[in-house]
């Protein structure tokens, strides 16, 4: 269904004007171009994370009637580089109770998986450069699920090796959270794979251009994936792993200086990563708007796709940041309930609906969507009805009905 679509678009990973010595494989199959791409990607991640942190602080500021950073650079835009400098000059403390070997290693084990996942993201084409993607694996989807999951190991190492009970609690929470959210996420991705009949992320984007964005074809899948990734990267309201009002930062409690900075970097890089993945998998990648190809406007996406990809990604990042400053934090049992009782069934429903769409066509699929919505409405209504509404209404009292202190046996 989709393979001929991909060949029609002729999007190449390696532009033809590149000299041969750049693309010739060297050690371990890596070419010079690969290395350059890696460096560029790393720089991009670092710079984007700085922009993201600045953005988050600005968003937070204005939501909270403040102004956010203002002093360093115009509108405080150089605040993040200044913070990095500050972190670099700070002392790297290793607590006495910490494990000497594991403690310094943990930050890298958190950041590296996140960075590695960036390799498979199809960033989209930009005028001359062809399609930006470092490694267009055929197993991209599997890779992007498997690699970030390694992050959990790093966090557990950080939490355990700090020799602090708060961080131990935090890392225990991380494990529970990662395991329970991995499942709905993967099942939501099955729908995507079924639609594109491929696990290659580039092919998935191209198939979306052909048959419509996944966010419209499987909105439930998008919701599940988005929420599950939000939880995977411990963003509010799922940030129980760091929960600064309870366990004061979780696994990172004992870290300082640049080691802590790397954790921070990994956290924000994960936000960027997951927004990019959502964009590629559900929001049509670098396509300007759904159906633009049919209108003959496909060339815009083919020329400036990278910009549209970035735009969508930034919008998603903003939504994730916005949520952080609106919602209170879930409790751990509620978090688990949410994963197992809501996201997982929803992911299965999505899976079944996608199967119906692929096998029986659009009409049964539409009926299925309708039935699902009706079921959801009924469930929501019963849930609302079960919640006792009485507590909200407060009893008003008249002066006569008020007990005096003697009447209720209070100390006079």
């Amino acid at each position: 269904m989709s393979n001929n679509a991909a060949s029609e678009l002729t999007l190449q990973a390696v532009p033809s004007w590149m000299p041969a010595f750049l693309v010739a494989p060297m050690i371990g199959g890596l070419s010079l171009a690969d290395l350059i791409a890696l460096v560029v990607l790393l720089l991009f991640v670092l710079i984007f994370v700085m922009i993201e942190i600045w953005m988050e602080r600005k968003v937070a500021g204005h939501i909270q009637l403040r102004r956010g950073p203002l002093h360093v650079g115009p509108h405080g835009s150089l605040q993040s580089p200044a913070d990095v400098l500050k972190l670099l000059t700070k002392e790297d403390l290793t607590p006495v109770a910490a494990d000497r070997i594991v403690f310094p290693m943990a930050p890298y084990l958190v950041f590296v998986p996140v960075f590695l996942t960036f390799l498979v993201i199809p960033w989209g084409p930009l005028v001359l450069f062809g399609n930006f993607v470092v490694r267009p694996f055929d197993l991209g989807l599997v890779y992007m699920v498997a690699i970030p999951a390694m992050q959990g190991i790093g966090l557990v190492m950080a939490g355990w090796s700090s020799g602090n009970k708060y961080s131990l609690l935090g890392s225990a929470r991380v494990v529970a959270q990662l395991i329970s959210y991995e499942l709905p996420m993967v099942i939501a991705l099955l729908g995507v794979a079924m639609m594109a009949e491929s696990l290659n992320l580039t092919t998935i984007v191209e198939s979306q251009m052909k048959q419509g964005w996944n966010v419209f074809l499987q909105p439930i899948g998008f919701l599940v994936f988005f929420l599950a990734t939000m939880s995977e990267m411990s963003r509010a309201p799922f940030d129980i792993a760091v929960a600064e009002s309870e366990i004061v930062g979780g696994p990172f409690v004992e870290y300082s200086g640049m080691r802590w900075g790397i954790f921070y970097l990994a956290e924000f890089a994960a936000v960027c990563l997951n927004s990019a993945l959502s964009t590629a998998l559900f929001l049509g990648g670098w396509e300007l708007f759904p159906g633009s190809r049919a209108l003959g406007l496909g060339w815009i996406s083919d020329q400036f796709g990278l910009l549209f990809f970035m735009g969508k990604m930034i919008v998603l990042v903003l939504i994730i940041q916005w949520a952080r400053f609106v919602l209170p934090r879930l409790r751990i049992d509620q978090l688990m309930d949410f994963a197992w009782k809501f996201l997982l069934p929803a992911a299965f429903v999505n899976f079944i609906l996608t199967a119906i769409l692929q096998v029986f066509g659009f009409v049964p699929f539409a009926i299925g969507i309708g039935l699902t919505l009706a079921l959801a409405a009924v469930l929501l209504a019963t849930y609302q009805a079960r919640r006792s509404p009485s507590t909200v209404a407060l009893m008003r009292t008249s002066p006569e009905s008020v007990p005096t202190s003697k009447g209720v046996g209070l100390p006079v």
């Binding site: 009637l65 009002s245 309870e246 004061v248 609106v326 407060l394 009893m395 202190s405």
Partner: protein, 390 residues
């Protein structure tokens, strides 16, 4: 030969498969505070955890003990005035309400009458203080449950109220404005307009507060049904204020034993039904609105006239004692003064602080819940450590 014995040794030391494994969870003791972002100051809880569940909680207080009562007795001259400075700084969020209780106690002790205008102004400023304090609760409670924005919303309103305090008493948090017999000086000319402006603005602010988290499902699920304190237990513990009213008992000193001129105003006492954290939150939200009602009525009737009664210049009350209680923003606040009739400082000063008493209900609320709930339950008590430790 050597190898065989080594293998044998290994066999003996290695745990056999059939050996009983003890897989019980180990209890963990975790020290929350005195330096912890959500213990509202320097409160320390020693939590015994089983996984995430709280098995036991032990409270430790006293990190902020400054001897406010003893300091209140220590003045060589102007002792009755000095005691109020330290009282202001115990509960730094309801300073003017506590000042009210203190001056009422001194007035009772020395038999001083207070002019009408001073009483009205005390009511207005006191209710503004209550709003101020409940705003702080709103922010802190939001932060405890994980939302950061409520703090900033609350502080935007607090800022305006404190600006008014600065205009009236010269200081934003500890105006030291009431005097036995009246007030230090009259309010500024534009007082009525400024208070009116604040309460006009406050109504919008309260709506914003509500829109932000009151109906939020996550907030509801975090607070509803949590930390339930039933009425008999609450009375046994001597709990007062919003905590007690959430259990369904409309006990408010302003109503039950009207002091000052509270009997002239119409206002409702909000009460809950179940006594959980969410109702405490709702009650405080409602009390802010009721305070506005009181302020509106007081502003309408604000009389002219003197602001100082028949207080002597050097205060030296006759021998005796006085106990006065008021409803401050946390509950039933009492001031007990003893005069020996000779010195110009009280012989004994004792504050009955509602926070200290309310804090005792912590164990009832927290045991059996999660760590995250412990923080929220503590937040719902709305303690001020300065007052607990004094």
């Amino acid at each position: 030969m050597a190898i065989a014995s080594a293998i044998n040794m290994l066999r003996e030391t290695a745990p056999s498969v059939s050996e009983e494994r003890n897989l019980e969870t180990v209890e963990m003791t975790i020290n929350m505070g005195p330096q912890h972002p959500s213990t509202h100051g320097v409160f320390r809880m020693v939590l015994t955890l089983e996984g995430e569940r709280v098995k036991n909680v032990q409270s430790h207080i006293g990190y902020l003990h400054r001897g406010a009562e003893k300091l209140g007795e220590s003045g060589e001259i102007e002792g009755y005035r000095k005691a109020m400075i330290t009282l202001d700084r115990t509960d730094y969020l309801s300073s003017l309400l506590n000042e009210h209780a203190y001056v009422m106690a001194v007035e009772k002790l020395a038999g001083i009458s207070v002019p009408e205008r001073a009483e009205y102004i005390r009511i207005i400023l006191g209710e503004l203080t209550r709003i101020n304090s409940h705003c702080m609760f709103y922010g802190a409670f939001g932060a405890d449950s994980g939302a950061t924005t409520p703090y900033m919303y609350a502080f935007a309103l607090r800022e305006e109220i404190q600006q008014l305090f600065e205009a009236v008493g010269g200081a934003r948090m500890f105006p030291n404005y009431y005097r036995a017999g009246g007030l230090r000086e009259d309010v500024p000319h534009d007082f009525v307009h400024r208070v009116q402006a604040i309460i006009d603005r406050a109504f919008y602010a309260f709506d914003d507060f509500d829109n932000l988290i009151t109906a939020n499902e996550i907030f509801l699920s975090r607070t509803r049904g949590l930390g339930i304190l039933d009425q008999t237990r609450a009375l046994d513990l001597g709990v007062s204020g919003p905590l007690l009213r959430a259990t369904g008992l409309p006990y408010d000193v302003r109503r039950s034993e009207p002091y000052s001129i509270y009997d002239r105003f119409a206002f409702d006492v909000p009460v809950g039904t179940t006594g959980d954290c969410y109702e405490r939150y709702l009650i405080r939200q409602e009390e802010m609105r009721q305070s506005i009602r009181i302020i509106e009525q007081a502003l309408k009737d604000l009389p002219g006239g003197p602001i100082m009664g028949n207080a002597p210049k050097a205060l030296r009350p006759p021998k005796g004692e006085a106990y006065v209680r008021i409803e401050n923003s946390r509950g039933d606040f009492g001031v007990y003064l003893v005069s020996d009739g000779k010195s110009s400082a009280p012989y004994r000063v004792k504050y009955r602080s509602p926070c200290f008493v309310n804090l005792q209900s912590l164990n009832d609320m927290v045991i059996g819940t999660y760590i995250a709930d412990a923080v929220v339950a503590l937040g719902s008590i709305d303690i001020v450590l300065g007052e607990v430790d004094r």
